[in-house]
């Protein structure tokens, strides 16, 4: 059975390693913060200028001067720091952030990502996405395998304007975990009950199927 958004976030949370600084995009990535494995220490960076971001505040504790990149009210944890946007993107470009998790409209088998613009529709802007994907060593995309029209979002080549080239390392969808390798999308894990055939059919780009494709474990 295909995963829901919570499950996608839960699966991605397994990628978190002790001591990681992590930047979470808006949408499914934000949910990952709810599933940090026990016993490991993670710090969340929000590119508008905080490291050591905590949970949403309690009702009445909101501070207009303390928000995340999604403009939501947040809190800070002990050991947190605030900084300006230049320092924040300095951390990102300087590869000090260990893991970036973000959404995508399309990913190509070369690891290109498109997630900021649909020509002819309203363009809201790339925000920090282009800086993040151009800089991070370790990028995980959280997205649905197919769009609302039923078309695959894992393509041989992106059709939408590019956000960054050859940068995506791993993709977690409602159907599968896939790695971007030189030959294309390599199927790493299946969602529980989802067949290799289903994933193959939902993937328009070149997909490499190892002999054994384990189910995700939660």
């Amino acid at each position: 059975m295909a995963l829901d958004k919570m499950d996608i976030a839960k699966r991605i949370a397994q990628e978190l390693k002790d001591g990681f600084y992590v930047n979470l995009g808006i949408g499914i990535p934000t949910l990952v913060a709810n599933y940090v494995p026990e016993g490991i220490q993670i710090e969340f960076q929000s590119e508008n200028g905080i490291l050591g971001m905590g949970p949403f505040p309690l009702d009445g504790d909101e501070d207009a001067d303390l928000i995340n990149a999604g403009k939501q009210t947040i809190t800070s944890l002990p050991g947190a720091s605030f900084f300006d946007s230049s320092m924040s993107f300095g951390m990102i470009r300087g590869k000090h952030v260990d893991l970036t998790i973000l959404g995508a409209m399309e990913v190509s088998e070369k690891g290109d990502i498109a997630n900021w613009k649909i020509p002819g529709k309203l363009v809201k802007g790339m925000g920090g996405a282009m800086d993040l994907v151009a800089s991070a060593e370790n990028i995980i995309v959280a997205m649905m395998h197919v769009n609302r029209k039923g078309d695959s979002k894992l393509l041989s080549k992106c059709t939408l304007p590019i956000t960054g080239l050859g940068c995506v390392k791993r993709i977690v969808t409602e159907l599968a975990v896939l790695d971007v390798i030189p030959q294309g999308f390599c199927l790493v894990e299946r969602a529980p009950g989802v067949s290799v055939q289903e994933i193959k059919e939902a993937t328009a780009g070149k997909i490499i199927i190892p002999d054994r494709v384990p189910e995700m474990q939660f």
Partner: protein, 232 residues
């Protein structure tokens, strides 16, 4: 001590005219120069080129200038959450130059610090790099980006002193420090204006040399865009 105080927002904006390029601090509605924006509306200056990470919402922040059609060109990284903005952009009344957020920050900082241009990986291989120099360093591709040139910078700080020294609060810091000294004239509005010597020199985020005019702001609304709370 060189005194940078002016008595009112009216004095602070002296010299602002139509057609100018303005930098405005803030991320979303967080840390925006509310007083300066109100005064820009009152002055009615038009044909402005605004450099700001966002464009406000319909009835607050830079949205107030959009309502009056005072902005001709908007340089930003993200412009959602604003129906009037959308209408003007789609009708062609408003020119929009979208810039990656980190590049926008660095172009301000470059202007502040006399760096005419720098290289960044952001935007390589995308339409943002169109017409820009691409260069390879250590096997990776970078885009050359130039410093902004602006007439006025409007920033909002938490505390400030008569010498123009500024301290920001929380994530309201964002682009504000980078815009100080990045334009010909920098105007800072503060929630609390103190005598020189009140601030610890170790804790000053922006030294007064980067600020031309400072004034005590009034009636801050500090609107929250996405009030989000937890239940426990």
């Amino acid at each position: 001590m060189i005194d940078k105080t002016v008595q009112s927002v009216v004095d602070a904006l002296e010299g602002v005219t139509s057609g100018m390029t303005l930098m405005l601090g803030g991320f979303g509605l967080c840390g925006i120069p509310e007083n300066a924006i109100s005064e820009l509306v009152r002055l009615g200056v038009s044909n402005l080129k605004c450099i700001s990470n966002n464009a406000g919402v319909d009835d607050f922040g830079l949205g107030l200038l959009l309502q009056q059609k005072q902005i001709k060109t908007m340089i930003a990284s993200y412009v959602g959450e604003n129906a009037e903005f959308e209408r003007q952009m789609l009708s062609g009344e408003l020119e929009v130059i979208l810039t990656p957020q980190g590049t926008l920050a660095e172009k301000c900082r470059a202007a502040q610090t006399g760096i005419p241009a720098f290289y960044t990986p952001a935007g390589f291989g995308t339409e943002v790099a169109n017409g820009k120099e691409i260069r390879t360093f250590h096997g990776k591709n970078y885009v050359m980006e130039e410093a902004y040139q602006a007439d006025f910078a409007f920033v909002k700080a938490w505390k400030g002193d008569e010498a123009g020294n500024l301290i920001f609060n929380g994530t309201a810091r964002n682009f504000n420090p980078l815009m100080c000294g990045a334009a010909k004239v920098t105007v800072a509005e503060v929630e609390e204006l103190l005598p020189a010597g009140s601030l610890d020199p170790n804790q000053i985020h922006i030294p007064g040399i980067l600020v031309n005019r400072i004034f005590q702001g009034q009636n801050y609304e500090k609107r929250i865009e996405q009030r989000t709370v937890r239940n426990i």
